[in-house]
Symmetry: C2
Subunit: 466 residues, 2 copies
């Protein structure tokens, strides 16, 4: 009998052959010229599911690009149902001239494979296929230990415009006990982690109207309300001196961060100076007092001014009291918060900070995206961590992501806990030229996936058996 | 012997004929296509000065449009020298379709004469010619009682770009004891006033730089300084809760308003509700606590945000922490303040309000325009008020203007007190379609000018005799 690891390593040629085949299809969903390629990508994946033994494989149409659904029931009637989420479309490739080798000619250099989609997300989906083969070979089973339902969308890189509708329409076919999202990464190659949360998002635009026309500041300046000054005062009142969002009630529904999670983040080898000089391109860390940088970007809600404008903005000077001023704000939400709940709080705060003579208009951006959080004490998370620790051979920590996409729809529409099995690395360049995946990371993912189905089916981790 | 008033009324046809002639010349200085018309306007005026007896009349060239200089010395060697300032160019006429009669076909309807330039400034200069004829006729003199030097520029409506240089180059030819500016108006037809001050102006642009690139607010929001938030906090700190400019030292050199002036403004029939609904197009009066609206726009210094921009300002939302944010500020200055003195105060204030991680750049707009103030106790002002009171037959009050143009250059370069003899009305529509002048107001101006040369030459008012 072979072990999961032995299978993964002995048959890595299968994984490499799949990578080389699928990554040659330029499934760029944002470019209408590639619509046929996105469809070819879906067909390629559907064929791979069929080849590997999935009894049900369907291409699900949407008003945009097609998704792929593949189901393989466990033999045991009480086995948990797991939906695995990923996407088969890829980012555009511009600037093409910065690629060392063509983005759709997969090229191995050392232990790295370079191609658009290598890490985001085709490579990670292929570790699932490889891992399932290892799972079946190592356990001697004819079916997975859990009922597997893969849902692989084709518009993630275009903002998943039809995904929530698709989930609602297909809810009965999906009906999971657990959702496994495979579109994330680990904190560092030598520090494996699983994502346990993503922040939600909502936003608004605020328009302040003062005089009905731009006024000459010589004739009127100093005697009528200036909407730019009023808006500056409003935005200055968005945070208090401790960097906390000062909208009354903003934190009322925020679930406090668990001590275990804070400890886990504190244990991560985070180099703030390198982060500032590198990805943050900034000269200082700042934010809500009492929290670390990782907590601020992963696990705390924020209010951010994304844009502001008003008055004369051209060269030279035009001495006016402008008629109008506007700002765009966005709010990152965490567990317990919903965009819709925030709206009345913002309305009240805005009314309290609108001075006499200024007319305020709030354009609310909708309910937005809900936050996603994996409960730290969830048996499914424990099963995932055990699987990853067996594969990586070292402790697995927690991380989060500051923004979220379709993951929130999965949690909301399917009403199931979401766990994250992903092996991307921060320097995989997933939306940039020279995207790559580290091949040994895909093997760690395959092995972890192979264990995961067994772990989730074990009595202590099976949510449908509790 | 005729009186000044009798002469003005008996010979009003002369005034009307001059109006009809000069107002037909479309001397729009802002439009290069009218350059020849601006020159024709200068030549028309020079010919009128010669016709009326000025022994010296010259057209003074500038790199732009020509000015007209005309001198008529008093017979008495010790007579004061008066420079009269005005301009012979006019505003553009767009939107032309809103004119009831063509802008360069002067049309009398009732006691009003409609034409571009009727009030601003050709009509007012023609009352001077008519007034000087009345002065000579009524006093029986062969020369004016003061040495008159008219300087009539041709680029006032284009921002007087060459005027200060012209004054510096011709300072010895001008060398006045008193400057009479004739390019302003009275508070109301039934409430004649003279302007006793104009605010100065300086400005700057402030750029705040945060991250070196626009950052994704999901991945970085809440942990790095946002330059828009920082700029909003800076601008919110521009005024205190009492509407006072909160830049330390801003008021240090501001001369307090004289009680007599505040009383004079308080006596003006100012209808704030009508002002708000009318020219101010605003729904509330606001500003520095402890001052009335008229004091705020005429006689108190201000800081105004003229424009601000940064981040994403297009349709929809882009959730970024922007790299840059900018604002344009202007400051209205009053007696005692100079733009150059303000710069170090703004630099210090800016440095104190620049948070860690933000790089601030101040683009100072130069020394700007100095404020102009007529000393309330000046003998020349008393002579002007006596002249106007004799002409209008009622008390004459004080007013100010919130902005200034070449008047500041006159005061600074020529180093002489500036008084304002103007009879424009607030609803003369001087920069709008259907500009008009009220003909009886021009007669009041002519009569006041006729008295003014005698009043200024009287022992008590002659500054050169003191």
């Amino acid at each position: 009998m072979t072990t999961e690891r032995q299978y993964v390593e002995a048959h890595r040629d299968l994984l490499h052959a799949d990578l080389d085949g699928w990554l040659r299809i330029p499934s760029i969903s944002a470019d209408p010229a590639h619509a046929a390629d996105v469809r070819a990508s879906a067909e390629w994946l559907a064929a791979a599911f069929r080849r590997d033994g999935f009894p049900t494989v369907e291409v699900w149409e949407t008003p945009g690009a097609p998704a792929v659904f593949a189901e393989w029931p466990a033999a045991e009637p009480g086995a948990p149902v797991v939906v695995v989420y990923g996407h088969h479309d890829v980012q555009p490739v511009d600037p093409i001239e910065k690629w060392t080798t063509p983005p759709f000619e997969p090229t191995v250099r050392g232990e790295e494979l370079f191609a658009r989609g290598a890490a985001d997300d085709k490579g990670q989906l292929l570790f699932h296929l490889h891992g399932l083969r290892a799972h079946l070979a190592a356990t001697g089973r004819d079916t997975p230990a859990v009922t597997l339902r893969f849902l692989i969308e084709g518009e993630e890189e275009s903002g998943s415009p039809h995904f929530a509708d698709l989930l609602r329409a297909r809810r009965d076919r999906l009906a999971p006990d657990i959702v496994v999202v495979t579109d994330t990464g680990v904190f560092a190659r030598d520090f494996p982690t699983t994502t346990v949360g993503m922040r939600g998002l909502t936003g608004c635009q605020i328009d302040f109207h003062g005089p009905d026309v731009d006024l000459h500041s010589g004739s009127f300046g100093g005697a009528v309300p200036n909407p730019l000054t009023a808006l500056a005062r409003l935005l200055a009142a968005l945070h208090d001196e401790d960097g906390r969002v000062a909208i009354p009630g903003f934190y009322d529904r925020v679930a406090p961060l668990a001590d275990s999670e804070r400890t886990a983040y504190g244990n991560l080898p985070f180099d703030e100076a390198a982060w500032l000089a590198g990805p943050a391109h900034s000269r200082a860390a700042t934010g809500e007092a009492g929290y670390t940088t990782l907590e601020r970007i992963w696990a705390r809600p924020t209010a951010e001014v994304n844009g502001m404008w008003g008055g004369y903005t051209g060269p030279g000077h035009k001495t006016i009291v402008p008629a109008d001023a506007s700002a765009k704000l966005s709010f990152r939400l965490v567990s317990g918060q919903r965009g819709g709940d925030l709206r009345p709080l913002v309305e009240r705060w805005l009314a309290e900070h609108t001075p006499a003579g200024i007319t305020a208009t709030l354009h609310w951006g909708g309910d937005g995206v809900a936050p996603v959080t994996t409960p730290i004490d969830s048996p499914a998370l424990a099963a995932l961590v055990r699987s990853m620790e067996r594969s990586f051979g070292q402790p697995v920590g927690y991380s989060r992501e500051g923004g979220s996409g379709p993951e929130a729809d999965l949690a909301e529409v399917l009403d199931a806990p979401v766990i994250f099995l992903g092996v991307g690395l921060p320097d995989d360049a997933i939306h940039s030229p020279n995207e790559r995946v580290v091949l040994p990371m895909l093997e760690r993912g395959a092995e972890a996936a192979a264990y995961l189905w067994s772990e989730l089916a074990s009595p202590g981790a099976n949510p449908s058996a509790s």
